[in-house]
């Protein structure tokens, strides 16, 4: 039987964690990204469909193409972040389903034959995985700066293809000075939870 994580761990992944807007110069290595992925990959998705795809923007040339496609307020911090990742949903995830969900290999044909159904499922489950990704980054002692303010169609055209829908850009690194805005208010329990 499991017990609760200690208070410091709960602070690190939830209570004291904030979206970071500034980072130190310390690089984020491929080994660190691999360690993050080796946690995040275990987060559950429907039929284990695992539609999240990650594009690491490592070259100066690629970053120069990305920045003008971000909302103006997101450019300076993304230009200075040690590592930038474009997260997208693979709308053709069903091709991997017989391998990913061997308990029910018919799932691909039975439930995901139609592209609009796949697109919705890919977005929902990739969004879940983006949350695991953010928690995984924090769990390994780094900070995440997730952003939605961007030209989604422009990023898809510039870096991806019709089968991959971008939905988030995440800056990753060690938090720098003045990395955090004040915490915004949260909804009270009774505003979110209803009992029937």
């Amino acid at each position: 039987m499991s017990v609760a994580l200690d208070s410091q761990a709960l602070d690190q992944i939830f209570r004291e964690a904030h979206t970071a807007g500034a980072f130190t110069d310390e690089p984020v290595t491929d080994e660190q990204l691999q360690a993050i992925y080796d946690l995040v990959k275990f987060g559950p998705t429907a039929f284990n469909q695992s539609p999240l795809r990650i594009t690491l923007v490592r070259s100066d040339e690629a970053r120069a193409r990305l920045l003008p496609l971000l909302a103006e307020g997101n450019r300076a911090k993304t230009g200075a972040a040690p590592l930038v990742a474009i997260l997208s949903a693979d709308n053709e995830f069903h091709e991997e389903l017989p391998r990913l969900f061997p308990a029910f290999p018919q799932a691909a044909d039975l439930f995901f034959g139609e592209r609009p159904v796949r697109e919705r499922s890919a977005l929902l489950n990739a969004a879940m995985q983006s949350a695991y990704f953010i928690v995984g980054i924090r769990a390994l002692g780094l900070a995440a700066g997730p952003m939605n303010g961007m030209d989604h169609a422009g990023i898809q055209k510039e870096f991806l293809d019709d089968d991959h829908t971008p939905f988030m850009v995440v800056n990753i690194g060690q938090p720098g000075e003045n990395a955090y805005y004040p915490r915004s208010p949260r909804l009270a329990y009774d505003e979110v939870v209803t009992t029937i």
Copy 2:
């Protein structure tokens, strides 16, 4: 500067965590749910929109109405789970945005005036919050059994309204005997991550 959580904590929330299909009889109290929510609410969403809503199915009468709306393979385990939660996305989340995102109170009008835009954003961000919810349940020492196999329209009609889109049902409790299926395969790092 943060360091990585210890190995046991990483096991508990990711590496050794599984979707649970059987639970002990130990109840899950409202206090436990409140403690889970008090972690999960801090997970980031776009503009802090926080669209997740949670319906706790506590009465026998409500559970009896829910079970026939689940996929047949999900009924027995949901009938026996200590606590069952219906997760939905609030498509009218923008009404709370001026309070939730005081740094930019115009966001509600500027970005979320159109219902289809709101529905997509609510689904994406509520899905992120459902992942925080699953991690939060595990972080507090409980097990989660998330499910998508259900009559979504039927559940919306029976328990919610047009403004709330159900997208998941989660069983919650202490894992029982034979709670877990074997782990399904995961995609390799190089299948998910591309560097540009």
